[in-house]
Symmetry: C2
Subunit: 200 residues, 2 copies
């Protein structure tokens, strides 16, 4: 129906998460009919980001800088380090707004079946970070990997290594979300909430 | 929160229709974390389309070819010409599947207040098409502009010009959608449906 270049564009737009065939068509028509400047800008932003965005040499989050702005920030608490699976998790925690330490981004979790081992998650770099005694060293490692089988296994693995270096380790709490209604919470979460109950 | 190049990418993604701040972030993270090949491909598809996609010299639809595949197709009925506002309208009619003639794309409607006049809509080219007597000429011009004030005015303007050239002109029907329930149809549509009632 459309010409080859337009079909190519629609196909490429469909690779975006949450974009089905109808929205990809609508996006292509919009860009070509109404806003070619935006299309050109998006093309160059993508090109620039793909070429230049790498990982922070301290925390491995996505950035084109050698050291990211969070790791650079003297107003953060450099004695706390929070381990997360993805840069999106950093954003979620930052938006919650009550954590003021640093992060370490794994970009995944241990998954022997997919060939993802400690080296792929930057655990050597994490080990170095925990061994450093620059100014104050890390006083607490907070593990915020996802509460999945792989996320838990990764948390255990990291916790053992950190304890071996004498660093205090904690795991963020999992349970019924605040404001969540019990009747809509899945069984696994409820079971965890009971097992992890605290004394009042 | 994100580095400048990532913020630029998120901002550029937000120009896509239907993409809010959250989805733009999710898209940027997905492309940079999971699929840089897709990001590179999208960048080059956008670049190619912006540079090369122009308008068909016969029907003005979007294409990188001089004459689009629809205008080229010998199996279409070249005596019927349907006037639409946008290339997306061509797609909608093609998907309905019962029209087999050719199209003419205005890329808008007459709108003196926005400075959009007949020349902007390619009405000179349309006039030439209607005057042609290649093989069989156009036997009927079907006007399918939108049923808005501007779309109606545009339809009237084109109809007069076509009649002056001795071409039969028709307008697609407007009324209650098939399968639509009367109680949910807006008043304007209902009023039109009554005024345009046909004898049974
Ligand atoms: Zn960093
Ligand atoms: Zn054409």
């Amino acid at each position: 129906m459309f010409s080859p270049l337009i079909e190519d564009l629609i196909r490429a737009l469909r690779c975006l998460p949450g974009v089905g065939p109808k929205s990809a068509q609508r996006m292509a028509m919009y860009l070509l009919e109404k806003d070619r400047d935006a299309a050109g800008l998006l093309a160059s932003s993508l090109q620039q980001a793909v070429e230049k965005v790498g990982r922070c040499s301290r925390c491995r989050t996505l950035t084109e800088q050698d050291v990211c702005s969070l790791c650079h920030n003297p107003r953060r608490d450099h004695t706390l380090l929070c381990v997360v699976e993805t840069p999106a998790d950093v954003l979620a925690i930052e938006q919650a707004g009550n954590y003021h330490g640093l992060y370490f981004v794994l970009h995944g979790h241990l998954s022997p079946i997919d060939g993802v081992g400690p080296a792929d998650l930057g655990l050597d770099l994490l080990g170095e970070r925990l061994g450093e005694q620059v100014e104050q060293g890390i006083s607490e490692l907070i593990i915020a990997t996802n509460p999945t089988v792989e996320g838990e296994a990764t948390a255990q693995f990291i916790a053992e290594r950190a304890r071996a270096k004498g660093v205090a380790v904690s795991r963020i709490a999992h349970g019924v979300p605040i404001g969540g209604e019990l009747e809509y919470i899945d069984g696994g979460t409820l079971a965890h909430a009971f097992n992890s109950r605290t004394v009042l």
